[in-house]
């Protein structure tokens, strides 16, 4: 791949790939790459983070979701027409009394597309503390949950199952969660 950066993220788009990487520590770019054509610049996004690390996943509507692993954890929706919406920025200002999101060592896993929106998980790699945030399709926080487990939720299967990785020493267990009412709204956080 002849790109002006080291590719760090990729997701299938139509018959080719959307391949992204950092042009500068703040500037994330993605090119459309296919077997037939030269790479075409598809997206430039300047992050509020000075060390952005975006990952790409495919949403249910075939859009591409870009999630910044580091604070402020922007989640972008990228359509095949190159339209980019900033779905959310999980800065948690005023919402998290312990300022979890700003802790050193807290990262976001790639957003998991659901039928009713997205699930974003913040992981403190130095502990078992996690935040699970359920976002509406337009990026508003619907629910947030705190949990303590060496768990990463990495994908959805169908409409009612989540897949996660539980780490224990040198081994990891792949676990499947059957969800009851994952898209129901909750009156309050946690």
């Amino acid at each position: 791949l002849t790109l002006p950066f080291d590719a760090t993220a990729a997701a299938p788009l139509n018959s080719g790939w959307l391949v992204g990487g950092n042009r500068t520590p703040q500037l994330f770019q993605a090119f459309f790459v296919s077997h037939d054509t030269a790479p075409q610049l598809f997206l430039s996004y300047s992050s509020a983070s000075d060390r952005a690390r975006f990952r790409l996943t495919v949403a249910r509507n075939a859009a591409i979701i870009a999630t910044n692993a580091v604070y402020p954890f922007e989640t972008l929706a990228i359509s095949s027409t190159r339209a980019v919406d900033t779905l959310t920025t999980l800065d948690y200002d005023g919402n998290e009394p312990d300022d979890f999101a700003r802790r050193e060592g807290v990262f976001s896993l790639p957003a998991v597309p659901l039928d009713c929106g997205y699930l974003q998980m913040l992981v403190d790699v130095r502990s078992d503390e996690r935040r699970v945030i359920l976002l509406t399709p337009d990026g508003h926080v619907n629910r947030r949950m705190k949990l303590f487990a060496p768990l990463g939720l990495v994908g959805a299967v169908g409409v009612d199952r989540l897949l996660g990785v539980l780490t224990a020493g040198r081994y990891s267990d792949i676990v499947e969660f059957a969800i009851a009412g994952p898209c129901q709204s909750s009156p309050g956080p946690e």
Partner: protein, 91 residues
């Protein structure tokens, strides 16, 4: 309400990572730290694809013809793996 079910166990020596993806209604994990690529489909069994190369996949998809296409962060190329064992690389 969550109901937990154990699907499988994988070794993660060192800081090897797992790349995850969703293809249709099936889910697969790829070990990026091994010459073996272990792919899981549904929850019934492992499907193993042997390779002789070590890749660092940053994106992957399955073709309808059974081929697996991945974007390799290590070689910065697109790798196409066929069930026959043939490997194509697009740099």
């Amino acid at each position: 309400l969550l109901t937990l079910r154990h699907v499988g166990t994988i070794a993660v020596p060192g800081r090897g990572h797992i790349l995850s993806l969703l293809i249709d209604r099936e889910f697969a994990f790829v070990r990026a730290d091994s010459a073996d690529y272990r792919l899981t489909f549904d929850s019934r069994d492992w499907v193993r694809l042997q390779t002789t190369q070590q890749y660092e996949p940053i994106g992957i998809r399955f073709g309808a013809d059974g081929r697996i296409e991945l974007v390799d962060g290590k070689t910065q190329s697109i790798i196409v793996l066929y069930a026959s064992g043939r490997v194509d690389s697009v740099s």
